[in-house]
Each structure stands twice: as C-alpha cells, then as structure tokens.
C-alpha cells in the first residue's frame, strides 16, 4: 500500500471520520458524524456545552470507542482494532487538555520528556529533544521549575511541548484556553498557529468560544445535539451563516464588544417601543458604497450609529458598524434584504428599550 500513496487518498487527511455514532447507556451523544481534516489544517469544533464536542474529541484520542462508524488517522484505521495497535497510533497524536494535566512531582523538563520516557527512548536523546521543545514553546530557562511554580499559561505551554515531543503531526486541544485570561489565551493561540505553520501539524480544537475560533481556525465545524450542523471556512461562517445555532454562537462574540452599560439593558426579544441594534459587516468589496445614507433615503427612518470598528478574521480585515433603528418588523426585514442584496452581511445584536436612549446620549 505504501508504494501507491496516490491510490489511498486518505493519506492526505490527518483524520477521516465516517458515520460515527456514540451513545452512552442508550442515550445518543453523537449522531452520524462525517468529517475530514486535511493535513496541516486547523479545525475548530464549536458548540454549546452538551453538544457532544468533548465526546467527539475523546473518540479521536482513543479515550472512548465509538458505538459505530470508523475513524482513520493518518491513513490508518483507528477504531475496532486491537488495543496494542491503537496505542501505537495514539503515540502519534498530541493532546492538550483543559487543565494542563502536568505531573506535579516532575520538573518541567521531565514532564516534557514523559511521553518519550513511556516509549523507553534513550534518556540523553529525550533530554535534548525536550530542551528543544521547551525552546520552541518559549519556556527556555524553566527546565527545572515544578508545575506548581508556573502560571496557567506557562503550564499550557509545557503541555503543548509535551504533546508535540513525540513528533505528533496531529494535535487535539480540549477547551484548553478556558482557564486562561484573554491575553494569555491569545498568546497560546499565537503559539499554536506558529507551530502549525512551522511544523505543518494539523490541529483540531474544541471550544465554546467563537473568539478562539476566529483567532486561529481555518475551518469551523458547528456541533449541536450530537450532529454537525454546519462546516465551512471561518470567513463564511462569521459573515454569511444562515444557521441559527451558529448565529447564536456568533452573537456571544459580538455582544462581548458592546459597551458594558448597553450589554446590561440589551433585550433578546423585541417589545413595544424599542430600538433594534443591527451590526453590519463590510468587506473590502462593499466598504466603498454609501449603504447607510441609501437606507435612510430609501426607508425614511432615523439611523443612529452607535459605534464602528475594524474587525478581523485571521488575516482578512473587515469593518463592522453597529446601528440603532426604531423597531418595526416590516421595515427591518426590508432593510436586511436590501443589505444582503448589496453584499453586506448583517446581524441582529439585540433590542434596546427606548428609555435606555437617555443613558446612552448623556
């Protein structure tokens, strides 16, 4: 088989999942999952808690066995095989867990060496390799520290070094930034993206935070109630999704950018006498058009521009503008349709009671 790599297209994929189902005690957690991850891709699996994303990851790292369906990793079948064969494949997969899960009684260096130690690699080789890995994750000089002496971000760096030391070409990350503050998570994500570029490793990360996905992922797969409801590249997901689950996940991202006092009074459902907040996304093609003034002229409504900024999805920059319009369902629908025709995506952020205006203007 190895002489004819072209006849085995699965070799170009880090992971291929086919019709995977998983149930615990008759409760279906994952239903009919099909997924392909090309080598070198960063895939984000996003979903609310209970959507089944952790279970999917646990099937991928071999901690759980799917009830039916197959997983192929680097062209080798990973499911329904002998435990000893599975262990061999597991050794080529790096894992970064939610808590860094370092051994508290080993030094940083010994922790990084740990996987090689299990494989009975010569300790001199393991030692120099571990030093190299620590250098790679930016922890040079911390070799002899114990995990208890490190910050959360540093611990995750050690965990990443440990995950990659056995030359893993697939890295699985489980909500690994959720315990870190925003700045530290951005640093760690930066590191992962850098490792992805330099070493060509594939990364699958699961998260409930669209912010993480926006920073790093090439592709996004949205999981809801055990099914994949959407899979697309990150730009399309953020700008053009029609899926309600995806939209609700993105809404969290947008709401985070709202000023705090507006977040507090923001309503999820309209009521009488309220304003609607709409966020518009301008890409480089649509940025030149006088969209706002044409809406004002066309529909004869007052538009209050609340704020705008330059947003980004990985390398693509795009402008976003949040506007406030008096709520009227017919006009809103017309405006949204008009915007879509002009290639501007729009998103309803929420509703503001009209008395809230006082607070805003003052």
């Amino acid at each position: 088989m190895s002489q004819m790599p072209l006849q085995n297209p699965q070799q170009f994929f880090s992971v291929v999942i086919n019709h995977l189902d998983k149930s615990y005690d008759g409760i279906e957690v994952l239903k009919g999952i099909n997924l392909e991850v090309p080598q070198g891709q960063i895939l984000g699996i996003i979903g609310k808690s209970g959507a089944g994303k952790s279970t999917l990851l646990r099937c991928l790292n071999g901690l759980e066995q799917p009830s039916s369906g197959t997983i192929t990793i680097h062209g080798k079948l990973f499911t329904g095989i002998k435990e000893s064969d599975r262990r061999k494949i597991q050794q080529d997969i790096g894992n970064v867990f939610q808590n860094s899960n370092l051994l508290s009684r080993l030094t940083v260096l010994e922790n990084v060496m740990f996987p090689l130690n299990l494989l009975k690699v010569n300790s001199k080789i393991a030692h120099s390799k571990a030093l190299q890995m620590l250098h790679l994750v930016g922890l040079k000089g911390k070799e002899d520290a114990y995990p208890g002496q490190l910050s959360g971000g540093q611990c995750q760096r050690v965990a990443i070094a440990r995950a990659l030391i056995s030359d893993a070409s697939l890295l699985l990350c489980d909500e690994f930034t959720s315990a870190l503050d925003i700045e530290t998570s951005l640093e760690i994500l930066e590191l992962l993206r850098d490792l992805n570029k330099r070493l060509g490793i594939s990364i699958i990360l699961i998260t409930h935070d669209m912010g993480v996905v926006r920073e790093i992922c090439d592709e996004v797969c949205v999981l809801d109630q055990g099914r994949i409801v959407e899979k697309n590249d990150i730009t399309s997901i953020l700008l053009h999704t029609q899926n309600t689950v995806t939209k609700s996940l993105i809404r969290n991202l947008i709401n985070k950018d709202l000023p705090h006092h507006l977040q507090e009074i923001l309503l999820q459902k309209p009521k009488t006498n309220c304003d609607i907040l709409v966020r518009l996304f301008f890409s480089s093609q649509t940025a030149g058009e006088p969209i706002i003034s044409s809406i004002v002229k066309k529909y004869d409504i007052p538009i209050n521009i609340l704020f705008g900024n330059l947003d980004h999805i990985r390398k693509t920059a795009f402008g976003s503008l949040t506007i406030k319009i008096p709520y009227n369902i017919q006009i809103i629908n017309k405006i949204m349709n008009y915007l879509e025709k002009r290639g501007v995506s729009s998103e309803i952020v929420g509703y503001l009671p009209q008395d809230g205006e006082m607070a805003w203007n003052s």
Binding site: G62, L63, R86, Q90, R105, L118, G148
Partner: protein
C-alpha cells in the same frame, strides 16, 4: 538492666521494621490490584474487587490481640513456633499489610482522572499508568500514611508480649507493671516517645521533600 532495655529495643526495632517492610510490599500489591479492578478502574473486574474488599475489611475489623491468637496455627506452620519475636512478627505483618493496603489504595485514588487520561491518551500501558503516574504522584501521601501506620505498629508490637514476642512494650508490662519497677516503666515510655517522634519527623521530612 540496661542490657535488657537495649535487647528489648532491638526486638521492637526488628519486629516493626520487618512487618513494615513486608507490609508495604504486600500492601502495594493488594492496593494496586484493588485500584486496577475497581469498577471505574483501568481493568474493571467488579466481582474480584468486591470479594477482595470484603475479605480485607473482615480482617481489618479483627482486633490485633485476637488476630495474634487466631493466627497461632498459621504462625506455627510458617515460623515453626508460636512463641518469640519471629512468631510475633507474622501477625504484625498481616495487620500492617491491611492498614497499608487501605492508605495506598486511598492515595492512588486521589490522583485526578485527568492525569490518568494523559497516560491513556499517550498510549501508556496499565502498568506504566500505575507506576509512572499514580504511584509517582501519590508518593507524598503514601509516605505520610506509612508514617502514621509505623507509629500504630509500634503500639501493636507491645501486645506481642502475649506470645512472648519481647520488645519494649512487653518489658514495660512484665518489669514495670507486674514487678512495680516504675523507673523502668518511665524509661521505656520515654524511649517509645522518642521513637515515635523520630519516625514522625523523618516521615514529615520525606513527605515534605517529595511534595512539589
């Protein structure tokens, strides 16, 4: 008289160190077996696990003095005699093993599931997970548990006198209590206090040193 005290001190030392040494070995094996076979363990065998648990709990609930008497036939079979320091060491070893099994089992069970999953996800064998993750991480707890049990066993060894086991406790009863030699009694109590203090200090030192 000093010679008698020294002789008894040596007997206590021998009984306690042999029973603790063998007890730790047996306890380690039994605890590992329990942790492996427990329903959420790496090799779940609930039936074996529960039978072993019941067996161990039964023996744990027997008071030590009764255990010595119940074990006389076995002691005679294994040690050749049911009297003397050697004969007292066997029931002490059994009692120590039972206690040690429990503390090692508990210590191994405190290791977070996440650490065990790290090993599993790395493709480690069950033996590697037990030795290189669970035992390694639990070592400070095991050491402090062993310290407490050593002190218990020093106390148990006083009862070894019932089968002519000798040791400090036996001496204190025979000379200090039955012959009204209160000076000797006080001397022995002081020696025992010093022994316990030493054990505790060494235990604390080791456990602190291992805790990172």
């Amino acid at each position: 008289m000093e010679q008698l005290v020294f002789q008894s001190f040596l007997e206590t030392l021998i009984m306690v160190s042999i029973s603790m040494g063998l007890g730790t070995l047996i306890g380690m094996i039994l605890a590992t077996f329990l942790v492996l076979t427990k329903p959420q363990g790496l090799l779940p065998k609930p039936w074996i696990y529960h039978s072993l648990e019941i067996f161990l709990n039964t023996f744990r609930s027997i008071p030590f003095i009764i255990l010595i008497i119940l074990m006389i036939p076995f002691t005679r079979f294994w040690v050749g005699t049911s009297i003397g320091t050697g004969a007292a060491t066997l029931p002490l070893t059994v009692a120590a093993s039972l206690l040690i099994t429990r503390i090692i089992e508990d210590a191994l069970n405190t290791i977070p599931k996440g650490l065990i999953e790290v090993g599993k996800a790395l493709g480690a064998t069950n033996l590697q997970i037990i030795l290189k993750i669970q035992l390694l991480e639990a070592l400070p707890l095991i050491i402090s548990g062993l310290t407490t049990i050593t002190i218990n066993v020093i106390g148990f060894s006083a009862m070894a006198g019932t089968v002519g086991g000798g040791g400090l406790g036996d001496l204190a009863i025979r000379y200090g209590y039955q012959r009204y030699d209160f000076t000797l009694l006080i001397v022995i109590v002081i020696i025992l206090i010093l022994m316990v203090q030493c054990v505790q200090m060494v235990g604390n030192f080791l456990s602190k040193k291992l805790m990172k």
